[in-house]
């Protein structure tokens, strides 16, 4: 059994950032979660600008959750996994809707994990779980730090289990993260964390 720390508060959303090797890692995490997982999950996976439109169906085939590309102004609902559209930054507004932006790349990335995470902190405050998975750059480490500073929960994939270790390594060195876990344990840990702390 994974040991769960005692939580003072509950969570309203999960944000995940992944890059090189991320599709396999996302499948590992999402395939563990049941259809009635009580929180919305919002994901930035770095992709080639023209290559990303099939990702919802690739992940959907391996998950019990409903998965779609996020639309601008769409309301964020539990039971759904939302993916950033290729080439757009994905942001969360304070009224829990999405907005998109074509601003310049951040960390050479659009969508950028930092952009999603930082906006999610403004919307969800401490009621947020942030996860950084495999990747070959440093995107996400600023955003994860903000989640932690606000009192949210932070999880990073153990770099030893990552296809590309630069991104989880950068996240760990930038933030005193709550949990560093091997890839195969992240989904089950998330499930237990959320079941324990969701109202």
């Amino acid at each position: 059994m994974v040991k769960i720390p005692l939580m003072k508060h509950y969570y309203k959303a999960v944000v995940i950032g992944s890059s090189a090797g991320g599709i396999n890692a996302l499948i590992k995490v999402l395939s563990v979660l049941p259809a009635d997982f009580p929180l919305p999950i919002v994901i930035v996976q770095h992709l080639h600008p023209e290559g990303g439109n099939h990702l919802p169906s690739i992940l959907g085939a391996k998950s019990a959750l409903k998965i779609k590309q996020a639309d601008e102004k769409e309301s964020i609902e539990k039971g759904w996994v939302y993916l950033a559209p290729p080439s757009y930054h994905l942001l969360i507004e304070e009224d829990f809707t999405f907005s998109l932006s074509l601003e310049a790349a951040v960390n050479y990335s659009r969508p950028s994990i930092d952009v999603l995470f930082e906006s999610a902190v403004y919307a969800y405050h401490q009621h947020l779980i942030g996860i950084i998975l495999t990747g070959a750059n440093h995107d996400g480490s600023q955003g994860l730090k903000k989640i932690k500073e606000m009192g949210g929960f932070t999880i990073v994939q153990d770099p030893k289990t990552a296809e590309a270790d630069a991104m989880p390594t950068a996240a760990i060195s930038n933030t005193q993260v709550d949990k560093i876990l091997p890839l195969q344990e992240i989904g089950i840990y998330l499930l237990q964390l959320v079941n324990r702390t969701t109202l």
């Binding site: 942001l91 932006s101 403004y122």
Partner: protein, 281 residues
Amino acid sequence: MQDDIDIQHIELQLLLQAIYLKYGYDFRNYAKASIRRRVDHFMKKENLTGFAEMQSRVLYEVDFFERLLLELSVNVTEMFRDPSFYRSFSQKVVPYLKTQPFLKIWHAGCASGEEVYSIAILLKEAGLYNKTQIYATDMNQVILNQAKEGIYPINRLKLYTENYQKAGGKESFSDYYMAHYDHVVMNKSLKENILFSDHNLATDGVFGEMHVIFCRNVLIYFNRDLQNRALGLFNDSLINRGVLCLGSKESIRFSTYSNTFVDIDRDEKIYGKNTSHEALL
């Protein structure tokens, strides 16, 4: 920390209110998350100590405000962005435009002009340019001047040429510009029927009757209310059976004007006012 976020929220509102009262630019109904990012980015770039300095310099230094204004409007664009959109426009809208005696086209939020020149090229190749007046508008005068000049860095041209070809371009793209060292200048003949002018979708009104309106990747920066305002202007400006073209992730479907517009190409976000694709043919 919760307190900090509440205070930052108030500060942003105050700043946008100050900008509106002093300069008339209304960002109050922009989507908050991305405008906050751009304000934060600007404050870092200018090495500001905090909100108090930001507010006072915005109010007292016009130069400072003009730099901020450039940062607040997103001007990232390219020629023939989304080539499949231009292909669809050529196939589904151009045949109808050929039946019109003259054309008025509004390009709203044209930024540095790349997409206006793309449309000009498309219209030229369709034989429509000579009977067309294009109104290219943006709220930012600095950016609008760049659009008018039509000078672009040469390192972008590889992408633009590929986009042009994918969009169904018939000629050699290099015929449309002159190269000078590290930049290119768009041909004068493309500019003849383009009028560049100042227009703000948040505060200005209708200025003419249009056959086609392009407003691509502008509405994504607005909140619902401001989106409805802009779409209302487009609705009032378009002739019956006029055509509205939005960006590939934008939609009229959840707006007040959903029922007025029919899909001409749902995926490419091309809409007809009170008309269908079939009726246009």
